[in-house]
Structures are given as C-alpha cells and as structure tokens.
C-alpha cells in the first residue's frame, strides 16, 4: 500500500487529522452553513444531508433540503404526483426494491436487493481503502461495486462475488484471472463526465503503487484511448463481448456508455451484441481521472437520455430483455425514483458514495495530493485518512437511508415494488416555476 517502505506515517498524526475532519462535519449546525460549499447541482444541503444519512441511516427530516438540488432543471424540477394521504400505502406495508441484472432468457440469474450498485472508480482515481470500503458495503448489502480501470487489488479478493471487473479502453490491470473471477464484467466504452476522451489519470496521481498495479511507469499521465482500438462497430463490439464470454462464460456483461445524441442506437447495438446490462452514463457524473476541461464540457443529461433509450427499446420490442441502469449524477433517493419513472431499471452510484465519506465536491480530485479527505487520492499518507471499515459502515448507513426514502416514495405513489415504477412518466410532473 505504501510507495516506499521508508514512509511510515505516524498513526497519531493520521488520527488527529481524521478527528479534525470528521468533527468539522459533526459541528456544522452550530457553526452555521459552510460559506463556500457545494454548487447548484450538489448544494451544501445535499452534501451535508448525505453526511448525516451516512452517520444516522436516515436523511434529516428537517433543516436540510435532502431531496433536490438547485440546478433549476432536470431532476430538480421534477416532482412526483403523490396520491392523496388516504390513498398511500401504510408504513407497515412491505415495499420491494430488488431488481434483476439479467433479463435475457439465458445465462445466470443475478438479483440485487436494492436498485443500485457502486460505479467504476479505478485504483488511481480513488484509494485502495475507499475501494475496499465500497466492496465491504456491497457484500453486506448483496449488491456490487466496480473496479474501474486500474487493476484489481488483491485486497478485494474476499469480496470478489460482489466486485465487477471493468474492461475499459486502456485495459489496465485486466487479465484473464480478473475476468474469470467476476460475476459481472463491465465494458466501459465511455464515461459521461468525459465522453470521447477515454481515461486520463494525471501523472501526479500515478504513484508508484498505482503504476505497479497498472504495470506502467510512475508519475506519467496514463491515457486510456478512445475508443477501443479493436472496436469500431457493433459487429466488433459483439466480437469483443464474445471474447470475454470465451474467457468467462458465466459472467453477465454490462456495457457502460455515455450519452451522445444517438444514444438510442448505441443501446440497441449493445443489445444485439449480447449485453445484459446497459449503463447509460449521463453528464453530471464526477471523475477523479480527467482534466478540468473535460469535466466541464459534457454530454447529454441523463434525464433526457434515459427516456429516449427506454422508449426506443420499447418500440423495438426488446426493452424487457435488457437492464438499463442510469448513472452520472444520481444524488438522492428521489433521483433514483425519478430516473426509474423515466425508464431505467436501476442506477449506478458514484459521487454520492464519496459524499457519504466526506467529499465536499471541492473538485480537486485530479490533483495528486489534492483531496483533503483522502478519498480521490493515492497518496500514501492522505489515503490513510479513510479506514475501510469506517467507509463500509458509512456506506451501509447511506444505503439504509436511500432504501428507506425510496420506500416512502413508492408508498406515496401506491406502489408495492420499484419494478412497477419503471417507465411511469405519468407519475412525474415538471415544475415550470422555480420553487
């Protein structure tokens, strides 16, 4: 884990830092709202509410706006048409949140009890401690997390049934072994945060450990090409998937794509190529491995892409054979319910998990020693600020809060299962005026 055996951070220093960081959060009500936290998409309220949820297992009932941000559009303008009080389901009514990850007639059945799993964040973009914490939480909740493109640290092996192996365009750290141990293999074609760019881990995050995992050189920017050099068509894409199936026939295949204007064509092509899961990655997503210019010049919002794909696949008559997961800016349980109502089966979470661990969206992720909370860093010192067990507990409580809120929403709509919500655009309303 350390870059040099000579560097042994003093545990007391680390403990002090941890304490200082976490105390800051715990004291926010007394200190008042932090003056410069967040942005219209991730407001200070949302960041703080996520922190509270990860502390307590519940979103705060009052004091903080924990449902929507202040972007003035998209998710933040969508509202549910809740039933009148007397039509809603009672608190005691069970509500089912599970979703299947394979809807084709063949291949292994995998179901996850909550409609989300953790998105791909590479070793390099985040620390091994954070990866480990996410994997622990995924195991505890019977869902998944993804390796991202940066290799498969051995420390994740005990959680391999809940870890998705990502094959992205640089294929860093991808080996037959890491494919063979996976129940789901994810092809990352593009990422909504940096469509058309492949990956770009800046040199200052490519520490010696990261370089070793990727078998490259330290302190050199690592580019994943765009696109796959061997995939320029659906026929190539099918061949690519066939290859993974030749190595690991039991794996489900997920295809992660960004949201160009012809995202519907991409979706139908992925279906024909044999994918089980289509992850549509919208433009609000974060990334710890892209330069500033890429992060700010972005693809189609996920709220537009998902209905487009959903309706198109319905018209083609193949919607019920593929699982669509939305990602890239899913912040709250409300976002999850809204995107499902727009046509997704479930979601993939990224930034919200980091927010649960203290991320304040300071947007300094791509700098080597830039993350003050030790999340998106591979620095041997900074990464010690997160203990995996602590991270796993917090993520577990976040999941608990998300599930509880999601059940509340479904009860309010009179639905007993999340699957009934899919594609129910009629249950949404677009608020014309800003609140």
């Amino acid at each position: 884990m350390r870059d040099s055996p000579d560097i042994v951070p003093d545990p007391r220093v680390v403990a002090k830092h941890r304490h200082a960081l976490r105390e800051g959060y715990r004291r926010w009500p007394r200190l008042g709202r932090p003056p410069a936290m967040g942005d219209p998409r991730w407001t200070a309220d949302l960041i703080l509410a996520t922190w509270v949820a990860a502390e307590t297992g519940r979103f705060p009932a009052e004091g903080l706006e924990s449902r929507v941000g202040a972007s003035g559009g998209g998710f933040d303008r969508l509202e549910f048409r809740f039933l009148p009080e007397d039509g809603r389901l009672a608190e005691s009514e069970p509500v089912e949140l599970s979703i299947p990850l394979n809807r084709r007639p063949c291949d292994p059945r995998i179901e996850i009890p909550v409609p989300w799993y953790g998105g791909g964040m590479s070793f390099g973009s985040i620390s091994e401690q954070v990866m480990l914490g996410r994997a622990m939480a995924a195991q505890a909740w019977g869902t998944f997390t993804s390796t991202g493109e940066g290799g498969y640290p051995d420390s994740l092996l005990p959680y391999k049934d809940h870890v998705i192996t990502q094959v992205a365009t640089g294929m860093f750290g991808v080996r037959e072994e890491t494919i063979q141990r996976a129940r789901i293999v994810e092809f990352k074609y593009a990422q909504g945060a940096k469509p058309g760019l492949g990956g770009h881990l800046l040199g200052n995050k490519t520490t010696m450990t990261v370089a070793k995992m990727r078998e490259s050189l330290p302190w050199v920017s690592l580019f994943s090409p765009f696109p796959f050099h061997s995939v320029y068509s659906v026929e190539d894409h099918k061949k690519h998937i066939d290859w993974i199936k030749a190595i690991q026939p039991e794996a489900l295949v997920s295809v992660k794509v960004s949201t160009p204007t012809d995202v519907d064509m991409v979706a139908v092509g992925s279906y024909y190529a044999g994918a089980h899961i289509l992850q549509v990655d919208g433009s609000y997503g974060g990334t710890g491995a892209a330069p500033e210019i890429a992060k700010k010049n972005i693809a189609m919002p996920i709220e537009l892409a998902i209905p487009k794909v959903h309706r198109f696949l319905e018209a083609e008559g193949i919607r019920d054979e593929i699982v669509i997961l939305a990602s890239g800016g899913i912040r709250t349980a409300d976002d999850i319910a809204k995107i499902v109502a727009l046509g997704a089966d479930g979601v993939v979470l990224g930034t919200v998990e980091l927010a649960a661990l203290g991320c304040t969206r300071c947007a300094n992720c791509e700098a080597g020693r830039g993350c003050p909370f030790g999340l998106t860093t591979t620095d041997p010192e900074l990464s010690l600020l997160v203990e995996p067990e602590w991270a796993a507990e917090r993520l577990g409580r976040l999941y608990e809060a998300l599930a509880a809120r999601l059940r509340d929403i479904l009860r309010g709509l009179g639905l007993r299962s999340l699957r009934e919500l899919r594609g129910r655009r009629d249950l949404l309303r677009y608020r014309r005026e800003a609140a």
Binding site: I7, P9, R175, E176, S216, V220, S230, S233, G269
Partner: protein, 878 residues
C-alpha cells in the same frame, strides 16, 4: 472527360425533382459487416462465393445480404454475348409484384427498348431458407437500350454530344425517377432498381449474403468478378432489401464495411451537385460519390481513390512533388465528400467501352476496418479482397475442390496501408481482354504498380496424383531424426516437381502410421514453417501439399489413436483423459462454431481442464478466441495451431505456449501477460493491444496499430514490418531493468528462402508516439527511419545494455525461425557491431518532476525517522 461535359451532365439534372429536404441523418445504423470480393481470369460459379460468405456469417446478423457480379456469363441469361456489353442490364426488384406493369409502362418502356427480359428463378417460398424473416423480392432483369429518340432529345436539350456519357446519364436519371416513385425511403416500398450497369448485376435481400446466392439460384451463374456482403444493421424491426448492400453507381456495385461520421456533410456535398440519396445509408452515398468522381468528372482511378481516402500527414510529404500538387487540389475540392470514419469498400465494376471488369478494394486512411488481399496466379489467376483471410482460404478450398487449376493457398496475402505513399491503401484486380485474346488479370495498387508473384515458378495442378515414386527421396526419410530429414529434404526440394514431392510426402505419411508420428509431424511442420528454395515450384503449391499431408496424418490419428496421440472433433465423443502430460490431443477444428458456448475455444479449455497439456488444433477455419480462457495456471501447456485461425487468438494468454503454423488475424494477443506466442506468418490489426508481458515472435509483418497501450514487460520480435502506429502509448517500464521492448527487424524472405532487407523497416508514421516507457529496437543499418516518424520519441544509439537485453530474444527468434543472429548483424554481406545495425527508439525526456514525485523521491533519500521528525517539527510550528 472535359470539364465542359461534366458541367453539362450536372446541369442536365436541374430538372430532377429534389427531395423536400437534404438527408442529414442515416435511416439505419450500420453495425459492421463482412465483405469478400473475387476476381478471376476464368468466370467463377457463384457457389464459391457462397462458401466464403458462409464462413463469415458471424460478421452479419441476417438482416441484409447481397452480391454483385460483373463480367457475366451470357448463357445463364440466354442472351447473345454482345448484348451484355451493349445493353444496360436493368435489374428491378419487385417487392409488390402487382406493380410490375405500372413500372414497365411508366418507367422502363418510355426510355428503353427492351431486347430481352429475364425473370430470376428463386427457391419460391422464403421458408425454403431457414431464418428468412422477409420474403425476398421478385427480380426481373431487362436487357435494354436507350431509345434513340430519347437520347437525341436529351442531348439536344442539354447540349451534350450523343454517346455513352449521355446514355449513362439518361439511365442514371431514369433510375432516380423510378426509385423515387416506387421506393421513397419514407413512403411506399413497391419496387426499386437493384442495378442498371452494363455487364453488371446486383441482388440483395433481408438475409445473409449466402442466402442470396441460394435463393436466386446463382450457384451456377458464372462471372469474372464477384463481391458479397453480410450486413449488421441494428435499428428497426422492419428491414427492407433496399437498405442491403451492394449499391449501384453506374457500371459498378459497392459494398462497404464501416460507418461514416460525416454523413450529413457528404449529403450536402452531393446535393450541391444535384445528387440526392434515396435509401439513406452510408453505402449509398459512398457509391454516389464514386459515380460522381469516376463517371461525371472522369477522374482516373488513382484520383478517385485519393478524393475518397486522402493521403495525409507524413505520407503526403513523402509523395513526389507532382503528386502532392494534384492531391492537394483533389483534397481541397473533395474533402467534404470524403467519407470520414472507419470504412472498407469493395467495388465490382465493368468498363464496357474497354471490355474490362475489375474488383477494387479501398481502405480508409486510418485502416480502421479489417481487410486482407490475396493473389494466386496459376494457369488462371484469381485475386481476392476480404474482411478475413479465412474467407479467402474457404473460397480457394471450394475452388480447388472443383477445378484443378486452383489450389488451396494463395501466392500472396497482404494488408493495404490506408492513405499511404507506399501502396495508397487500395488495390485493383483488373480482368481485361487484350486484342480479343483470353482474359488476363492484373493486380495493381493505387499508383498502378503491379503486384505479381514470381512468374518463373510453375503452378501445381491440384489433386496431384499420388503414388509417383519419389526417386530422389533421401534415404533417411523413413527413419532419420527430424532435423536430418528436414535438412535433406530442403536440399532436394528445389530439384523436384510437385509429383515427386507428393511421393516423398506420401512416404512420410506412411511412416506416421507407425510409431513415428511425432517425428513426421515435426518434419512436415518444419516444411510448413521454414523458408527454403522451392526450385521451379511455387511456395504456395508446396505448402498446400504439405498441409494436405499433415491433414492425412491427423486423419491417421483419428483412425488409430494411441497412448500418446488422441483425437477429438466436432460432435464426436470426448477422447479418454490423457495418460500423462505428454499425450497430444489433435482437435480437428472443422465444424466447431467460431464463438459461443460450443465454440472451439471453449472445447480447448474443456480438454485442458480434463488434463490435456499438449494440443494440436488442426484445420482451423476462422474460429475465434483460440487459446483464450486457459487462465494463469497454464504454464507448461502448449497449443499448436494449423489452418486459418480467427480473430483474438491467444488474447489473455497467461503462461501457456501457443505456436501458430500459419498467419494470424486481427486482435491477437490482447492483454497477453505471460507465456510464449510464436507466429510463423503475419498478424493482423491491433496485435497485442494492452499487452502486459510474455515473449512473442512474429516471422512476418504486423498490420496497423500493434502493441498500443502495452505495459509491463512484453518482449516482442517482429521480423518483418508494421503498417502504422507501432507501440503508441507504450508504457512498458525500463527495458534495461526488466521492462518491455519490441525488436523490429525489417526483413523478408525471397522466393529461394534467403533473407532480404525491406526498403525500410518501418514505412509509417506515428512510431512509438506518446510512449512513456519501453523501447523499440529497429534494425535500420541505413538509417531510413527518421525523427519525422516519431511523436514524442527520440532515436538514440544502441547501448551495450540494450544489446544484452535484446540478445536472448534474438537467440530464441533464431531457434524458432532459423534467422541467425549473425545474419541480422550482417550488412551488405559484412558483419557489423550491433550498434551499427540497430537503433533505439525511446520516449523523449520531457517529463517534468511533479511535486508529488519530488516528495516521494525525498522520502526515498532520507531515513524515515529523520523525515518524520522534520514533519512533526513543521506541524508543531503551525
């Protein structure tokens, strides 16, 4: 053609009704395709194309297939040969047969005098072919001439001279009108024109390409040029044959594998010339652009190719000044009509004025689609262009089973370098009849340079009679150790003819029936792998015979397996588990699907798990993923591959040894990590993409983009050359401290098996671009590789440490291929020190020391305790 004529032709289209708006978006998304083209001096029956197309079904999805033929056999249609040259063959597809009288009355008879009508026979109901979703259209061929009065009136109205140019334009405009009336992309789909050229026919439908041959009963139609296509459209529940390939220009048909990014731009470019697509696919606009450049502007082929696939970057600079000037103008004029994106075109074309038919393959500037060309020159010559080598081999096998003038292996196989100054990325196979003699095939590149195997060597007559006594057979043949027998054979082969060689091989096959199977396999394999003189025989003929002999040895294993040799084939019961690790399993690949749970690759993994450690994979025919899935515990496993293996071979290899006694195809050895890969031939595109390690030896060339994004410690020897982008973003550490490197030897073998130097070891640009680690060692004694081929790299002299790192690889290379290290160090016949022969390409030192790097470096330098004391002091001060 004069500019004036071109202008008048374009002006004559003023009256054509334009669509309400110019197409901006394609109707269908094209998901890729499989293509093949054949050109031959003798007309070939459609069933040979069928074989090749059947081999590539996995490149289509059965939602569109088609064929085109040029240089047709008049007997099939029952017409006079002169009619084929003089008459337009108007092939009309009737989706709604009831509209035929209306079409004829309104769109054929007013323009044409019809000499003959040919109704294409079919298999009848679509159920005759399993898997057909849509009934193929009824097709009627009209052999027709333009009415003289129509021609006269047209020419007068537009000030055109009476002649073929005007007639062609009338036919073109008539077809546009017919298609617009009866098959608008958005309205009724009742009938459309498949093709309207002279001596050219297109047929297509919703199905696979080979289904077209079957359904329209073209197995026995003979033609000089064929192209076939499988389509992979992915949008829409309803497909129409109008969207399938090929599309017709004037006297040419075009099939295409790829996808254009600038469809709207091309449509705008065409609309400025009053050309409007009606079927809304990439392929249609591609052939419209071709027709414009070729027929209307009258450009020679070279300029048409340049306008479509421009020569760029360094390749442009390498052109002679005269070409640069013309190409500069062509690019300035036509760049907006040049398809951008991955594509590979095949055209079947007739040039009726010159009694010429030809096959043309053009690849895009970046070579992003699979493509391979081949040529066999026997009593009759045949040329090929296809997506995969294995499809060419399937066609040759089908041909040789039918006609003794063909044998199962081509003389030459090669890849085109798209948009290059070397071959221009395009090849033409022209079948012409000089002075009324027999048709002659000539293969030329974009620049008109002839591609030709050594004409002095005699072709075999296939199905060579066996049992001719090998009078001169070496005495050791029946018993000697393999190396000795091989050496003795190589000495004699140059003096033999095919019959004598066949006799000697027969003796070897007999010997294999005894206890000496392993020795015989070794001898035959060496005959297959090594380069040696073949005297008056063609190497391709010798190899075809050796492969046939090997096939009989494998059949012998099947008939008489024993403790050390087992056999396994498609649909056969599994062989008994191996006695020990020495048992060799012969897996006969025939019949195994190319992918999926029943595939050859999975069968190999199953047998590996049952304990087999040595496997011969015989008679491969395009099966993919061979050697994938063995996993990281596979050290000590050895696979020997024969035949025509498919894509992704050994991708993921992590310990095993894979020896390919043939050329490989695309995507080989991706993410390979450990183990050994040996290829006694060429490898295709994106070879060893994201490779991580292992030792790899390639006897021949690598196509485009080898070793991109490779990391770790791959050690690779490529004895030939690479087309482009060698080792882009290479990150394989320090080659002097266990990191990776590529040795590029830049050599080839002449027909007598002698090593010769290529003009340059690396003709392309983008060598080692953006690389951050590793090195390329180029054997370049004359210093032909220049800094202008690099992008972020630098050329430095070879150091002693470099040579020490290279030497073990070169020694192994010598053992595998018989290329002595001493010979590599020879320049002009004289031994030279390594530093005068090899040059090193390494990443240029432009990295700045990042703060983080500096921080860690400090940590390295200082004892930890002192470091932390300082840190604490600093913290305390705050």
């Amino acid at each position: 053609m004069s500019a004036d004529l071109a202008t008048r032709l374009l002006l004559s289209r003023r009256e054509l009704p334009a669509p309400a708006e110019i197409a901006r978006r394609k109707l269908d998304a094209e998901g890729g395709c499989g293509v093949i083209g054949i050109a031959c001096e003798t007309p070939l029956a459609g069933r040979h194309l069928l074989q090749a197309l059947r081999q590539m079904r996995n490149r289509g999805n059965g939602k569109g297939g088609g064929i085109a033929a040029a240089g047709l056999d008049p007997e099939f249609f029952g017409v006079a040969p002169t009619w084929l040259r003089q008459d337009y063959l108007l092939a009309v597809a009737y989706l709604d047969p009831a509209c035929r009288p209306e079409v004829e009355r309104t769109a054929i008879e007013p323009t044409f005098e019809v000499d003959a009508v040919f109704e294409f026979p079919t298999l009848g109901a679509r159920e005759a072919i399993p898997g057909l979703d849509v009934t193929p259209p009824a097709v009627v061929g009209y052999f027709a001439r333009v009415r003289p009065d129509v021609r006269r009136a047209f020419c007068e109205r537009h000030g055109l001279p009476e002649g073929s140019a005007a007639e062609d334009e009338i036919v073109y405009q008539n077809t546009y009108g017919l298609n617009r009336a009866f098959y608008a992309a958005t309205g009724d789909k009742r009938a459309f024109v498949l093709s309207h050229g002279k001596d050219l026919l297109i047929l297509k439908m919703v199905g696979y390409g080979d289904d077209v041959v079957r359904y329209y009963r073209l197995e026995d139609l003979r033609a000089h040029v064929w192209i076939g296509h499988h389509r992979y459209p992915t949008k829409g529940k309803v497909w129409h044959p109008g969207g399938a390939h090929p599309f017709a220009g004037m006297h040419e048909a075009l099939v295409h594998n790829g996808d254009f990014a600038n469809y709207a731009s091309i449509c705008a470019y065409l609309a400025q010339r009053r050309i409007y697509p009606l079927f809304l696919t990439d392929t249609e606009v591609a052939v419209l652009v071709y027709d414009l450049l070729h027929r209307v502007y009258g450009y020679p082929s070279e300029y048409v190719i340049e306008a479509m696939a421009p020569t760029t970057e360094r390749d442009y600079c390498m052109l002679p000044a005269s070409r640069r000037e013309i190409y500069g103008w062509l690019q300035a004029l036509h760049m907006r009509g040049s398809p951008d994106g991955p594509w590979f075109f095949l055209l079947a074309q007739s040039l009726p004025a010159r009694e010429v038919v030809r096959l043309m393959g053009i690849t895009d500037t970046s070579m992003l689609r699979p493509q391979v060309f081949a040529l066999q020159r026997g009593e009759v010559a045949v040329g090929f262009a296809a997506s995969e080598k294995q499809a060419i081999d399937a066609a040759l096998e089908s041909l040789s089973a039918d006609d003794p003038r063909f044998w199962p292996r081509a003389d030459l196989y090669w890849n085109a370098r798209g948009g290059s100054h070397t071959d221009g990325g395009a090849f033409l196979f022209t079948v012409a009849r000089e002075n009324g003699g027999a048709p002659q095939l000539a293969c030329t590149d974009k620049f008109g340079r002839l591609i030709e195997p050594d004409p002095a060597r005699r072709p075999p007559r296939w199905a060579i009679r066996r049992g001719v006594a090998a009078t001169d057979a070496p005495p050791s043949l029946g018993e000697g150790p393999p190396e000795e027998v091989f050496a003795a054979l190589v000495e004699r082969v140059p003096h033999w003819d095919y019959e004598t060689l066949a006799g000697a091989l027969e003796l070897l096959v007999e010997r294999a029936a005894g206890r000496e199977r392993a020795a015989v396999v070794e001898i035959l394999t060496r005959l297959l792998d090594r380069r040696y003189g073949t005297g008056s025989m063609k190497r391709s003929g010798v190899l075809a015979l050796v492969e046939e002999a090997l096939g009989r040895v494998w059949d012998g294993v099947r008939r008489a397996p024993n403790g050390s040799w087992r056999w396994y084939g498609w649909g056969e019961p599994e062989p008994p588990a191996p006695g020990d690790a020495e048992t060799t399993l012969v897996v006969d690949a025939r019949g195994f699907p190319p992918e999926g749970p029943e595939s050859l690759a999975r069968a190999i993994v199953r047998q590996y798990r049952r304990g087999f450690r040595r496997m011969v994979v015989a008679r491969t025919r395009g099966q993919r993923f061979i050697g994938c899935g063995l996993g990281p515990e596979s050290s000590g496993v050895r696979l020997e591959i024969y035949g025509s293996p498919g894509d992704y071979l050994a991708s993921g290899l992590d310990g095993a040894e894979v020896v390919v006694h043939a050329s490989g195809q695309d995507q080989m050895a991706q993410i390979m990590r450990r183990g050994t890969l040996v290829v006694h031939g060429d490898v295709g595109q994106t070879f060893m993409y994201a490779g991580k390690g292992g030792e790899v030896f390639i006897l021949g060339n690598a196509a485009g983009r080898p070793l991109i994004n490779a990391v770790g410690s791959p050690r690779v020897v490529i004895n030939g050359t690479c087309l482009d982008y060698l080792a882009e973003s290479f990150m394989a550490g320090d080659p002097l401290n266990g990191g990776g490197f590529v040795i590029l030897n830049g050599i080839a073998f002449d027909d007598d098996g002698r090593i010769v130097e290529l003009p340059t070891p690396y003709p392309g640009g983008n060598l080692f671009s953006l690389a951050s680690g590793g090195a390329i060692y180029v054997r370049d004694p004359y210093g032909t590789v220049g800094e202008d081929q690099l992008n972020g790299g630098e050329i430095v002299p070879l150091g002693e440490g470099d040579w020490q790192a290279m030497l073990p690889c070169l020694e192994k290379n010598a053992r595998w291929f018989g290329i002595p290290v001493a010979r590599l160090l020879e320049v002009d016949g004289r031994p030279r020190p390594p530093r005068e022969v090899y040059r090193k390409v390494q990443p240029s030192r432009h990295r700045a020391l990042l703060p983080e790097e500096a921080w860690v470096k400090r940590g390295f330098a200082r004892p930890a305790a002192a470091h932390w004391r300082r840190l604490r002091r600093r913290l305390a001060r705050r």
